[in-house]
Every structure is written in structure tokens, then in C-alpha cells.
């Protein structure tokens, strides 16, 4: 038994105090009684029991001394050290699975070195008959093997070998392209320490970690970085439209173990410079030629480096390791071709530069070519509410879409194909177009190919406040609007609406119906807007904007992500194919979260209708800039808790002492009760 707080034994001084209390006669309580005659007589009887009385008094004193002793020991926090099971040496290996571990030098990545070192430790442990644990610090740290004995060495070896891909193909390694959860992995190691505080924990990484546990030697860190490693990295890049011409920029840096700088070539190449999307949805150049494949055929010359004009040399010089150089390619310069539109820009470190970490050598600026949406509004009595709305969103959403708005005027026949969004008001065409979204407003009849709809009477009211609309089931189209703010004085009753979802009601009749299928993207609004104040309320443009976003959603909200980010994918068509990072996925329900696990360019392809060409968009996924710094130093904020296990043992012993104390207190009370007082 060991005492964690030996000073608690000072409580034994209480025994001396107890004896002093016994020695010093306490004050007698005075009591006047009629006569002491019987008490004197009783003493004769009492004397007969003196031996038992003395024994009881001694027992009480003994109990009190033992109670004080037990209290003193409880204060001293006694523990019995749990014996560590004789399992020989126990080792825990944490393998860093961060993107930086993919740094390759002399044909071997840091991750491969780490795995080989882990295998060596596993072998050594098995030879000593010890227990081995391996933890992979990927973004989600997990045990590869947990407290595996020497008899399972083959399994351990196989599990470690499975971390590496085919010979020479580091892409298949189980090492991630994100930041590894080192803190989580060390916490997992701490669980092992709680069971065996003598276990040896080794973190194999390429990062220089500092921290209290490392200083104390509780956590052993083996750094697998090598002297010759270096990295030229594109940390970030972007495009700005300045006076109608694009200016591209990139932040470049170099990381070397010796702290030195480097001079290397960074190239900026443009695909589809000054191309546009024509009415057929094709991307064509100024001369009408279509865009073909990955033709990055326009190479730009840097126009400034860190603000200094450098018009001639494409080579970039970074002074010392860790410096960030800001490079610009301004296309307002005639030499760079006066680019006012583009499809994609590829900024990359020249192939001739053989650095150790290539995941940050390329950077794509996608989303340069905005998708085109064509809208046609046909009405026998044009309504400025619709024209105003569509012209408004053409300006508001110009960064996302190129919106062409056409209005059919003066009894001209509306086009029945070639548009993405058709609006027919009052006079309905004989048949509906099938290559886009169709919004029917206050229809006078049902087109032939519009199935499931039967129109009824026109309903009117003399009430100057009109009919009040009511919401149906919650729907993206009716979100953020208050139906009561859309009054109507006349509407046409819809008797049947098989296959449609009613979103708004008027007097119990549906007045807004929606259907969103591959060949039938139809919305029917049977309220007469020119007999309503709806158009001038806030809710009407909100309703139309919701409808536009519902039928014509953006595929992604941005074109640049980091590995590990999750994008909410939407599509105008029934399905979307995502290809990139060595895999291809088809998504058919939207919105759908998609997590990017590898860096590089991803292609998003969808088909709106069989008649139209597929829409292709690209997004770029970069690695974290932090991972580009191969020789960074980080503080490990997790502390290993060796003491936790011993504390739990202490507690168990305290319970025993407390039980003895309770027993002694009960015995003392029993003796007192037998005696009848002090």
C-alpha cells in the first residue's frame, strides 16, 4: 500500500487528543435530587459488573482510536498500485495520415517510411513477446490493430502492409489528402495508456510537433522528413474582372528544410479564351469554332510579382522557405490577349520542376463560362409584372447565369422549342414545349399534351379585398412567402390535377400546381394577376424567384473547394454524374451532399432533356495550404493522462477504508448503546 498524501497521517494526532480528552475529566453536570440514598445503594450492585464495564470501556476506546486511524488513512489517500500484467513490452504506434505524408523523395513517400517503421516496431515488439497497437491518424483517427499480442503478429503485419498501395503507386495508399487528426489519434493512444501506463507511445510523422508530453518523453516522436525534400506550392489562386478584362493571380511559395529559396517556372494557361455559349448551348470561340477538349491553348505571361512589374520572364523567384509570392497575369495587357471570358484557367508549376509534393502543383480556376438560360414570355395581354421580374433576375443573377429574355409581342407565335423557361399567359398554345420548364398563368384552355388537368369555371368576387390564398404542403417554391399577401379577385377553378402537387389554394381550390419530371416540368398558376395586387407585393417576385431556383438550380454554389469539403449538389436534369479524384458517381436525388476526398479537377455532367446537349461544369478541389508546408512546426495540444488509471485505483481503496470506518462507527455506537451513554 502506498500513501499519495502522507501528510494526511497528521490526522493520527487526533489519537493524542482523544487520550487527552479521556485523561482530562470533563465537567460534571450538576443535578439536585431528592436523595442520593438509592444511588449509594446502587453502587454496591454496580461493583459486581466492573470487569465487563472495563472491558466495554476499553473496547470503546479501541474503536475510537481505530476510527481516527481510519480517518487519517482516508485523508492520506491510500492506494495499492495495480500490478501491470506481465505482457512484456507494450508499444503504441501512431502513423500520421495527413496529406503532407505523401511527400515523396528518392522514390519513397513519408507515409511509406512511416509504415515501414511501424512494421519494424511491430516486429521488435512481437520478438519481445509484447503487445502492439497501431493507430492511423487520418481525418478520422482509428485503430488499425488494438493491443495485439505476439501470437497475432502475422495479422498485424498484414494490416500494416494494407496501408500501402501497389508497388510504386502512392495514390492507392491509405494516407489521406486532408489534415490528419493527430490529437484524436493521441487520445486513442491514451486509452491504451489507461490500461497500461507503461506502454510506449510513438508518433511517426513528418511534422515537427512540440508539446509538454513530448518534452517529458511520454510521447516519442519519430520524424520521417528528409533533408532533400522540398515543395513548390500554389497556395491559392483567383480571377478578377477588371475593366471587362480578366486578371488572374496566384500565391506561390516554396518550402525547404534548409530555409533557402528557389527560382522556378509557373505557367498560367487559359482554355476557351473569349469563348461564349451560343443559343444552342454550345461553347464557341469568337470565330464560331467550338471548344474542343482540354485545349489550354492560351498561355499568359506574368505581369507582376509581388507588385513589381515583370513582363518578360515567366520564372518566379521565392526568396526563402515559407515566403509567399503573389503573381498576377493581367489580360488587359494586349500581349496577354485581352481576355473577357474564359472557360477554365490552369495555373501550374512547370513539369520540369520536380518537387517532393505534387498535390499542390496545379490549380484550376473553373466556372469562367456562365451557363445560359433562355426565357420566353408569351401573353395575349402582356403583364409588366412578369417582364419586370425576369429582367430583374437577369441582372441579379448575372454572375451565375447568362439569361436571355424574349417577350412575344403583338400576336406573334411563340417559339415552341429552344428555350429553357416558357411562360404562357391566358392564351395557351395547342401543345406545350417539352425542352424546358413551362409556366402557365391563368390558362384559358388545356394544351393537348398537358395531361391530368381539367379546367373549370372562372370564379370572381366583388369583395374589394379579393380572395385570400392559403398555403398547401411546404415546398421550396412557397418558402419565405406569405400566401395571404397574394390576393386575387378572379381565378379559374382546376377540377382535376392528377400528378401535380398543389402549393397554393384559393377558397379550397388549388391555384398553383407543380410537376417536376424529366419531360414535364410544369407549373400552373390560375390566378388572374392583372385583377390582383399580387404583382406589387414582395411575395410575388419571391414566388417567381423560388420557382426559377427550383426548376433551374445551380449545380454547385462555388467552383473551388478544399479536400474534405462537402458540396451540396443540385441539378436541372434527373441525374448528375460526378467524375474526378479517380472515381465516378451518379447522383439522382437533390440536393445531395458530396464530399471531396482527393484533390484535382472534378467534372459535373448532367442532361436537361434528351434533345439538348449535356451541360458540363468543372470544379477544382485543392489540398489545404497548411499541408504544403512540409517542415512546419505544430504544438500538440492533447495531454496524455497517465495518472488517470492510478486515480481510479485510489478510489477503490478509499471505498474499503470508508467501509471499515462505517463498521467501526456502528460497533462504537453499539457498545455505547449497551452501556447507555458516555
Amino acid at each position: 500500500m502506498k500513501l499519495l498524501l502522507p501528510l494526511g497521517l497528521l490526522g493520527l494526532l487526533g489519537i493524542i487528543i482523544l487520550i487527552l480528552i479521556y485523561l482530562l475529566k470533563p465537567n460534571y453536570q450538576q443535578r439536585v435530587i431528592s436523595s442520593t440514598y438509592v444511588w449509594k445503594l446502587s453502587l454496591k450492585y454496580k461493583r459486581k459488573r466492573i470487569p465487563i464495564s472495563i472491558l466495554r470501556s476499553l473496547l470503546i476506546l479501541l474503536c475510537q482510536i481505530l476510527i481516527i486511524t481510519a480517518c487519517a488513512f482516508i485523508l492520506a489517500d491510500p492506494v495499492i498500485r495495480e500490478e501491470v500484467p506481465e505482457v512484456g513490452q507494450e508499444r503504441v504506434v501512431v502513423i500520421d495520415g495527413s496529406a503532407g505524408m505523401r511527400t515523396k523523395y528518392e522514390n519513397k513517400t513519408r507515409f511509406e517510411l512511416a509504415v515501414e517503421r511501424a512494421q519494424e516496431i511491430a516486429k521488435q515488439t512481437a520478438d519481445e513477446g509484447g503487445v502492439f497497437t497501431a493507430i492511423l491518424a487520418n481525418p478520422q483517427a482509428n485503430y488499425l490493430v488494438e493491443r495485439s499480442g505476439a501470437e497475432n503478429y502475422d495479422t498485424v503485419s498484414q494490416k500494416l502492409a494494407e496501408l500501402l498501395g501497389e508497388e510504386g503507386n502512392a495514390d492507392d495508399d491509405k494516407c489521406s489528402y486532408e489534415e490528419g487528426d493527430i490529437a484524436g489519434a493521441v487520445s486513442l493512444a491514451d486509452r491504451i495508456l489507461m490500461q497500461n501506463p507503461a506502454a510506449e507511445v510513438t508518433l511517426i510523422t513528418g511534422t515537427s510537433y512540440v508539446g509538454m508530453d513530448i518534452t517529458d518523453g511520454k510521447l516519442k516522436v519519430e520524424n520521417v522528413s528528409r533533408e532533400g525534400e522540398w515543395n513548390a506550392a500554389i497556395l491559392n489562386a483567383g480571377a478578377e474582372l477588371v475593366e471587362n478584362y480578366y486578371k488572374f493571380w496566384a500565391d506561390i511559395s516554396v518550402y525547404r528544410s534548409d530555409g533557402g529559396g528557389m527560382n522556378f517556372l509557373v505557367r498560367c494557361m487559359v482554355k476557351g479564351a473569349n469563348y461564349y455559349i451560343n443559343s444552342e448551348g454550345e461553347t464557341v470561340g469568337p470565330d464560331g469554332s467550338p471548344l474542343v477538349g482540354n485545349s489550354y491553348d492560351t498561355e499568359l505571361t506574368p505581369t507582376s510579382v509581388d507588385g513589381d512589374l515583370q513582363m518578360t520572364s515567366p520564372s518566379i523567384f521565392v526568396g526563402q522557405s515559407g515566403d509567399v509570392v503573389h503573381v498576377e497575369w493581367d489580360t488587359s495587357d494586349s500581349e496577354n490577349g485581352n481576355i473577357y471570358s474564359y472557360d477554365s484557367v490552369w495555373i501550374h508549376i512547370d513539369d520540369g520542376v520536380q518537387d517532393s509534393f505534387d498535390a499542390d502543383n496545379n490549380f484550376f480556376l473553373d466556372g469562367g463560362m456562365k451557363q445560359s438560360v433562355r426565357i420566353q414570355y408569351a401573353s395575349s395581354k402582356p403583364n409588366i409584372f412578369f417582364a419586370g421580374f425576369f429582367m430583374g433576375i437577369r441582372d441579379t443573377l448575372r454572375n451565375r447565369w447568362t439569361i436571355d429574355y424574349d417577350e412575344v409581342r403583338n400576336g406573334a407565335s411563340p417559339e415552341m422549342e429552344g428555350y429553357d423557361f416558357y411562360v404562357f399567359e391566358r392564351t395557351m398554345p395547342a401543345t406545350l414545349p417539352t425542352d424546358g420548364v413551362v409556366l402557365l398563368v391563368n390558362p384559358d384552355k388545356v394544351p393537348e399534351n398537358l395531361t391530368g388537368i381539367t379546367l373549370g369555371d372562372r370564379i370572381t368576387t366583388e369583395d374589394p379585398n379579393g380572395f385570400l390564398l392559403a398555403a398547401g404542403e411546404p415546398h421550396p417554391i412557397t418558402q419565405y412567402i406569405t400566401p395571404e399577401n397574394l390576393p386575387a379577385t378572379a381565378y379559374r377553378r382546376i377540377l382535376t390535377y392528377d400528378g401535380y402537387t398543389p402549393l397554393l389554394f384559393c377558397g379550397g381550390d388549388p391555384v398553383l400546381l407543380v410537376r417536376n419530371e424529366m419531360n414535364a416540368k410544369v407549373a400552373i398558376l390560375c390566378v388572374e394577376t392583372d385583377f390582383s395586387m399580387a404583382g406589387i407585393t414582395y411575395d410575388f417576385p419571391m414566388l417567381m424567384l423560388n420557382m426559377f431556383n427550383y426548376f433551374v438550380p445551380s449545380t454547385v454554389s462555388q467552383y473551388l473547394y478544399e479536400v474534405g469539403d462537402t458540396a451540396a449538389l443540385s441539378a436541372r436534369g434527373p441525374e448528375l454524374t460526378v467524375s474526378g479524384g479517380g472515381q465516378e458517381t451518379t447522383v439522382d436525388s437533390f440536393p445531395q451532399d458530396y464530399k471531396f476526398t482527393r484533390p484535382g479537377e472534378y467534372t459535373l455532367q448532367q442532361r436537361i432533356s434528351p434533345e439538348k446537349a449535356p451541360i458540363v461544369e468543372n470544379v477544382f478541389v485543392k489540398v489545404s495550404s497548411k499541408e504544403s508546408d512540409l517542415f512546419r512546426e505544430e504544438e500538440l495540444r492533447v495531454k496524455l493522462s497517465y495518472q488517470a488509471s492510478t486515480e481510479s485505483s485510489d478510489y477503490a481503496l478509499l471505498l474499503y477504508f470508508a467501509s471499515v470506518l462505517v463498521g467501526l462507527l456502528f460497533l462504537e455506537w453499539l457498545l455505547h448503546s449497551r452501556e447507555g451513554g458516555l
Partner: protein, 299 residues
Amino acid sequence: MKDSYLNDDFFSRLETLALNLRANLSGFFGGKHLVKTYGQTVEFSDYREYMLGDDIRRIDWNLFSRFEKYFLKLFTDERQMHVQIFLDCSASVGKVNPKKGAYAVGAAAALGFLAVHNMDKVSFKLMKGNRAEDPFGVLVGKNSFFRAISSLEDVAFEGDTDIAECVTTCPNVGSNDGLSVIISDFFTDSNWKKAVDYLTYKKRQVLLIQVISPEEQEPLYNGRVSLIDIESSDLADARNMKLRITRGLQLAYEEALRDMISDLKSFCNSREAGFLSVCTDKPIEKMLFGELLKVGIMA
């Protein structure tokens, strides 16, 4: 508020009772107690043959006609007794516990009332120190009795009492003429047995009534206690005690008290004296109507 049992209601309930004294007492003329001697009452008792000198007017001529012998018709005699009540007026009886004193006075007054109610004489002997005071003299009749007990209520319980000395030196104890009652707690070192023996020698019927309080019967205090005897002169008095009262000592106390009462009872039995030990938590009526009836002193 002063403890007192003496009121009209208390005495009115006693009117149904009477003292049952031994028949071999001689007493005085004019009472209501039947005695063994023959007298002039109308209640027939026995016959005896005529002897020379007998009054011929008492010859039963009917028997003469039958047996041709002279027989005298004898009648019972009724005597007046003298009831002497020795009341212990020491501090132990009533100073610490006034209720106990009132109880003792109540018992004395009740017995006195029964005496005067049955046309007996009664005298209250207040035992103080080593002499028995007789402040009221011999009381006959209820008027004088009630005058006396109004003063009896105010009796002071002080000092200690030597019962034997008080009884044996008491003048006019009388002989074979009534009942002597000693009311005390008998928590005394004096030889009270000598008093009983003396009264027995005087052929008086003797009754001892021991009055104790519940606290004396079962002490509730424990621990380290300095017991001050109320009769002690100062703290250094040998009668004072310092005790560590434990459950064991309490049991010893109870046993000692039990043995003491047993000793009193057995001694009284040996002297054909009555003995009664009462606790003040018992209603005085229960003592009078129950315990005294059991002893046989009441009828």
C-alpha cells in the same frame, strides 16, 4: 402553581370509604369501630352463662325456659380509635419535587379525613429533624379537621428527618388504641425499623406509605453527573456524589430501589404492619381506592 390535592371534590369522594382497623384494638368509647370486646350496642354477639355479679336484667329468659339455665345475651362493642399520621417533612420529600410533597400531604389528609369521618380521633405528627411536631393536636370532627389541613398544605419540607427518633420520642403515642401511619420516602440512613418496632410494641396498628416520584423510580439523566442531595449541607457533604451514570448503573439503581422496597415490605410483613409504595405519577385516587384496599386498611 402550588400542587395540591385537597379540595371538596377530593374529600367528597372519600366519604364512601372507611378505615378498616384491627378488631383487637381497645380504643376509646364512642366510636364506630367494631372491636372484639362486648359492649352495649344493639348488635347481638354471643351468649354466656350467668355469673355471680352480672346484671340480672340482661338474662335471656327465653333461653331459660328452654334450658332452665341462666344465659346472658352479649352485644358487640364499638370504639373510637386514634389515628396518628407521622408525615416526613424532610427536604427529600417535598423540596425538590413539590408534587411529591403534595402527594404525601394528600395521602395524610385523606387518611385523616377517613378517621374523622368515622368518628375517630386523628393527629398529624410532622417529623422534622429528630422530633415530631403536633401543631394541630388531636382532631375530632370534620370542622376541626378542615381547619387543620388548611395549615397542613403549607407545611415546609426542609432539613433531614430521623424517623426513629421522631416516633420514639413522640409523646402521647398511645397504646393499643388505633392506627399509626408513617408517610415518607424512606430515603434515609436513620433506623426507621426502630420506629416500627416501637409502634408495634405499643400495640398500635402500623401502616407505612412510601411516596416516590417517577424520576426516583427511573432516573432519566445519564453521563457524568454530580448528584447534589437536597438534604446535604454543602457541596462537600458526603451525601453528594459524582457519578458516571451508564446504562449499567441505571440498572443497578433500579435493582437497588427494588430491593429497598422489598426490604421495607418484608420487614413490615414480619411486624404485621401494612406497607404501601406509591409513585406520584399514579393518581392519588387510585392509591386510595386501589392500593389501600389491597393492603386491607380500607373498607
